[in-house]
Symmetry: C2
Subunit: 476 residues, 2 copies
Amino acid sequence: MDEKKLPSQAENFSDWYNQLVLRAELADYSPVRGCMVVRPYGWALWENIQKALDKRFKETGHVNAAFPLFIPQSFMTKEKEHVEGFSPELAVVTHGGGQELEEPLVVRPTSETIIGTMYAKWIQSYRDLPILINQWANVVRWEMRTRLFLRTLEFYWQEGHTAHATAQEAEEHTKRMLDVYTDFAMNEAAIPVIPGQKSASEKFAGASATYSIEAMMGDTKALQAGTSHFLGQNFAEAFDIKYLDENNQLQYCWTTSFGVSTRFIGAIIMTHGDDQGLILPPNLAPYQVVIVPIYRKEDEKARVMEVVRQIEKGLKDFRVKVDDRDDLTPGFKFNDWELKGVPLRIEIGPKDIEKGTLALARRDIPGKAGKTFIPMEGYVQAVGDMLDAIQANLLVKATKFRDEHIFEVADYETFKDVVENQGWALGWWYDDAENEAKVKEDTRATLRVFAASEGEGTCFFSGKKTNKKAYFAKAY
Amino acid sequence: MDEKKLPSQAENFSDWYNQLVLRAELADYSPVRGCMVVRPYGWALWENIQKALDKRFKETGHVNAAFPLFIPQSFMTKEKEHVEGFSPELAVVTHGGGQELEEPLVVRPTSETIIGTMYAKWIQSYRDLPILINQWANVVRWEMRTRLFLRTLEFYWQEGHTAHATAQEAEEHTKRMLDVYTDFAMNEAAIPVIPGQKSASEKFAGASATYSIEAMMGDTKALQAGTSHFLGQNFAEAFDIKYLDENNQLQYCWTTSFGVSTRFIGAIIMTHGDDQGLILPPNLAPYQVVIVPIYRKEDEKARVMEVVRQIEKGLKDFRVKVDDRDDLTPGFKFNDWELKGVPLRIEIGPKDIEKGTLALARRDIPGKAGKTFIPMEGYVQAVGDMLDAIQANLLVKATKFRDEHIFEVADYETFKDVVENQGWALGWWYDDAENEAKVKEDTRATLRVFAASEGEGTCFFSGKKTNKKAYFAKAY
């Protein structure tokens, strides 16, 4: 196999993904099975994701904090569904400082239990509510089959945890954060996610209701890209999170939690990438623009580099990389930055300088169709406009792809064909956990989210009347 | 005891510290012994520390990445001194996913071993060098006696790890990062640290040389506020970090590491704080300005709040908190924000509005001496200037305090009196690990760092000739 050539998506999507993550230097395998190393290029992408989300969290009244990595094992058992859901996935510290611990500590798989304990301590009266805290953290879930970003033993995420005085307020907040995620996915990552409620069998262990944003990958499989949970009073009762209301009555709080993880990087890769490599949305790309100087002789080099540095200076409000590596050809550099998905390439050579133009190549439109020449005069505005155009085009393309691969189904035979060969199925669904399990066993497709729907119809599986529609798909 | 009153520093410095951390809501104890919860106010302070450091890391060519939390136990044993130093402090995961692990995993106490393993994989030739990576992470060291921020089982930090082609380059980088830390401490935290080299007995387990910045706390004890290590080829040999040089010869790399942790928050508290509470340097304070509206009746309130919002708007380039809590008196709010160390308070009441002035109160100058009235016209500039003045004054005050509590000593009797009753001792020191241990046993004072010195003198302990001077002090 040619070391330099990526497998095509059509050939083997899964292989394409795995190799791309490594070759683009987003992440690497670590010596600990299932734990990943996020390399600088991947971490810069994550930092941009963090900034875009954190801004939205602060705008919706959240503050950041940090809660402990370790949770006493007994805490995990206080909420019945929570312990059932997470027990099989726990990493357990049994020894510390050379001694066996009296009570083992669990490495947090999620922090409802430890944060709930602190909220019980901090919240006294209705005046302390709502409490809206987020943390950026690493968490650990013991996975047997792991894949970089998509499913790793340790991963990075944000987890928001809120407590409210009323059910209505908590439910509204759950949906508000789902909206925040949808807005972030659409407008920053150019991923046209479908937001909606999960079925009972797919909800978070301990939640009363789980909502998620579902994204369609380039192989038409679904990826859950963020979740927002209405926890009812389940954790408030388990951890004694109470407040004195305005009538001096002790009440349980209503809580929520919501999270987006480094898994989202997998969603970006598989939504926009092509056979040449990554295609990163300008709003999140570590480098929005790469400048490749083109010269043959030393005297050309000095002239070219002077212009390159001048152009770079003018673009100081963008994230710009000048590829001044001396030992590599322009052609090699083009491929390298295409692999790494930089949205816009500027080529500057002696001819361009003579003509007073810049050669631009858009990563989202391959080949000649994506190449233009612009006058150096006013290039800053032109570059900004083109990045906006790329950002917009990625969303349009991904939306078109998504819509072309969602099929309305009315009967189970069609359903099976759709989820096996064509993409997502959307159909009337009579909500029934047993039937859902049967569909999953038959087809490996799962109910992603309930869809917005009006009126009534006939369930494609059971034939029963229902007012609900749902999306089904195979998923990551 | 009055719940509202902080113990004075003179009364009990340690108690003052512990209670202040809790009452200012910087951090709280968690249910896991020794693990802290960093509350939103404390985390906002840490985020500002992170920004100030991260900017400096990027300016010196570093990129961020993330390496795994878990390290195979066998990795820890590869560098002889490293394993001796860290073995007693390890937390060990023995079970995962319900199974006992074949090889236990250590929760990282520091990441030289895991990062070294990856560097060995990534570095091929001199062209790959230097490699300059930083990570912001949580680490765990099993401590028996813990104190919030100063010594916790889990703490937060940055750890920089670099690999270089030559010893000289690595040594220069070690010192460059010490300079970065010194610059950060002086110019952002207003802490007049003393940078210098550690003695062999105080160096990092596995380092060839350790440098640190040492800060003097309000009780004159020393606190090591950041360290930079020249690791020689110790880790390169243990983890096989090699490169092909320009002559195609395989060489071991030279590596460094350096870190600043949430301990630094303890340094800020104990350098600047007073009996009223925290005093935060404007450059790092979560809120630089608090505006307290003053009104008695409802009609006053509307008028006052209108001006308050207008003043707040003008200060949008600063971090401003408007304390609009309705159920609390201005006096209560003054105390509250003094406790929380906000550098500048603006009071706005009907009289101020009539006169067209703002009442300013500086946190660094208590009482009437710190109060001024400024005309509303040009208040933005005036507030900025005053914050600059506060930042500068904190450094001047802390430097004066430090210099008043460092005493040159020429004999051991004086030395003992100084480190017991007066502060730090600075004296000629003949470098000898056994003598150092004796001094420590006698006095509990340790060699903090070697001092810049010229010429020769007589060691205050051994009477031997030496060209080295050193600082000694009791330390946190």
